[in-house]
């Protein structure tokens, strides 16, 4: 057993995730086609984040990886979010 580092995800699980992702895609399209103003962007982004989370956890097996790697991935996203927020401190008040 040289190589048991990765978890094996069953086909069924992967299939279910795909169905969920498809559903989410249609949800975004339908939500944004109502004009909800600024709200629709928020919803679209929230859904996108959820989809990304699913892809990361199941397709990319992050759910079964070491805690360290999970923390690192999380930190990268947080870092990016913080950079965007700080940049907007300038733009929002100009």
């Amino acid at each position: 057993m040289a190589n048991n580092t990765s978890h094996t995800t069953e086909y069924k699980v992967l299939g279910r995730i795909l169905v969920l992702l498809m559903f989410m895609t249609f949800l975004t399209i339908s939500v944004t086609s109502f004009n909800l103003g600024a709200f629709s962007v928020t919803v679209a982004l929230l859904i996108a984040c959820f989809k990304a989370f699913m892809v990361l956890s199941y397709f990319m097996h992050l759910k079964y990886e070491s805690l360290l790697l999970r923390i690192l991935v999380g930190m990268v996203f947080v870092l990016f979010a913080v950079i965007v927020l700080i940049t907007f401190i300038d733009y929002a008040y100009r």
Partner: protein, 536 residues
């Protein structure tokens, strides 16, 4: 201490025969030690070029009006000086040279995690450097934007900006791959039994640095690509005449380039943290504080980029926010200085050249760092922004910091790398010469900076001349000292005495193996200590 075991015959990595011969044994080498040396030779060559460009500027500035060159030439020279020094000398500097050579040894590994990738990084480093040099020689003339490539000047000037930015992009890629390699090495290749908190402090510093390289460099990469696209297609991201936003360029540029200054200084701090305990024969004071402050600097360092833009027309809220964070990031640096001094207390101090350079480092770093505090405060930055005060600040902290740490490192590790010793007495004298020349060169710039002398000025008002003259004289002393230092080192490598395995009585792993190390570094079992600086 180190007798070769019977099983493996000891052959130094320098004498090791691989399937390639001659120069190919070097450029196709995957041995981290050889790659480290390759970086060192390349970087030393660029350093010499960059330094002479610096000297050319000093001669031009010795008197107002034209001295030896035209304004356009001058503008090209400071741009290229900046590009070479930043992207080709100090960013790769310590981490690619000494990181490559000593990181695996210090954590008890045979090599880095991906030796071929490591070789590839060096190759693209050379490609990028070649492009940077080419940008000088091509038809339209050297780029004349300053190393910051501020839009919209950089999107409209007729010089070789595309070539120079592509070069910076390629160099950035090399930096990313090196960082990636080091992170994986530290996570996966530590010797059995070595926990994170048993690592020496240089690997800790390299670890923090590698994260910055990995996460910040892509941003400048994409920014430079946007700049190129703007020049080629007139896309208008940054040029206001096309609808773009020049301040956005500045944000993106400094989102990378501020963290990049910590890429320069963190490994330097790591080197100092290695040298001080060795020459004091004392366990380093506040091991954990030093290790964690590296991570703190790397983390908070990501969030302070706006301090380069206080006068750019940024919103008031952003100005105070960035100022506050800038001050906070200074505290971990202060902690390190205090811990180094505490390590000297009641030590048994041996004044050898590496230690002398380390002391000079601390002095210059305090000056560079505390003038950084003046720049960090909004009111005073308004006065000295874009003046020679800033020029003095960053030469003190980059050259006085990273540069002197580099000199300390080479004097510290040269016996290990080549198995020979240089002339110690001469090294000490030259160290003092360099120190004096350095201060003469840059200190006057603080004063005229406060009086308002702007930077990137080809010509200036007569009231600033006295300082420029002192500066130029200092420059010559410095260059003379440095050339003598290099020749002292080269003579040491070629004809010096054979160095013992542990000339300074160091306690970290590199001193437990023969000098120079063998190809696989560790031919015998090594002992992992609870604390790497375990002096009794």
């Amino acid at each position: 201490m180190s007798k070769a075991t019977e099983k493996i015959e000891y052959v130094s990595y320098l004498d090791h025969q691989s399937k390639y011969k001659g120069i190919f044994a070097w450029i196709f080498a995957t041995d981290h030690k050889r790659i480290g040396l390759l970086y060192m030779y390349a970087i030393a060559a660029f350093f010499v070029i960059g330094a002479f460009l610096g000297l050319a500027m000093r001669i031009e500035l010795i008197a107002p009006g034209e001295t030896i060159m035209k304004p356009q030439t001058y503008n090209g020279i400071f741009t290229v000086h900046g590009i070479i020094m930043i992207f080709m000398v100090v960013i790769p500097g310590l981490s690619a040279v000494f990181g490559n050579f000593f990181l695996p040894i210090l954590i008890g590994a045979k090599d880095v995690a991906f030796p071929k990738l490591n070789r590839f990084s060096w190759w693209i480093f050379m490609v990028g450097s070649a492009m940077a040099v080419a940008s000088q020689l091509l038809k339209s003339g050297p780029p004349d934007t300053g190393w910051t490539f501020y839009a919209p000047y950089s999107t409209t000037t007729g010089t070789n900006v595309i070539m120079a930015t592509t070069a910076a992009f390629v160099l950035g890629f090399s930096s990313i791959l090196t960082g990636l390699n080091f992170i994986v090495t530290i996570h996966q290749m530590r010797a059995p039994g070595m926990k994170f908190f048993n690592m020496p402090l240089f690997p800790w510093a390299i670890y923090a640095t590698a994260w910055i390289q990995l996460l910040a460099t892509p941003i400048i990469g994409i920014t430079l690509v946007m700049l190129i696209a703007e020049r080629l297609f007139g896309i208008g991201f940054f040029d206001p005449a096309l609808g773009g936003d020049p301040l956005l360029y500045q944000h993106l540029f400094w989102i990378y380039s501020h963290p990049a200054v910590y890429v320069m200084i963190l490994p330097a701090m790591g080197v100092i943290s290695e040298i001080i305990p060795t020459f004091c024969q004392r366990k380093i004071y506040g091991y954990k504080a030093i290790a964690l402050s590296s991570l703190a600097i790397a983390g908070v360092g990501f969030l302070v980029w706006g301090h380069h833009m206080y006068t750019s027309g940024m919103s008031e809220n952003a100005r105070w926010f960035f100022s506050l964070l800038t001050f906070i990031v200074a505290v971990p640096s202060a902690i390190k200085v205090f811990n180094w001094l505490a390590t000297m207390y009641k030590g048994s101090i041996d004044m050898q050249p590496p230690f002398l350079y380390a002391l000079e480092f601390i002095f210059l770093f305090i000056i560079g760092g505390t003038t950084g505090l003046i720049l960090g405060s909004v009111a005073t930055d308004v006065q000295v922004h874009d003046t020679s005060f800033v020029v003095a600040h960053f030469h003190y902290i980059i050259f006085g910091g990273m540069g002197f740490a580099f000199f300390a490192a080479i004097h510290y590790w040269l016996p290990k790398m080549y198995g020979r010793m240089y002339n110690l007495k001469r090294a000490k004298i030259l160290s003092v010469v360099i120190f004096v020349g350095f201060n003469l060169l840059y200190f006057p710039q603080f004063i005229i900076g406060i009086q308002g002398m702007p930077r990137r000025y080809y010509d200036y008002l007569p009231q600033f001349q006295w300082a420029q003259v002192i500066s130029t004289i200092g420059g010559f002393i410095l260059v003379a000292g440095l050339l003598a230092m290099i020749s002292n080192l080269i003579m040491g490598v070629r004809k010096g005495e054979i160095a013992p395995a542990n000339p300074w009585q160091g306690s970290t792993l590199e001193w437990q193996i023969p000098s120079p190390p063998s190809l696989e570094n560790f031919d015998e079992e090594i002992e992992i200590k609870e604390n790497p600086y375990d002096y009794k």
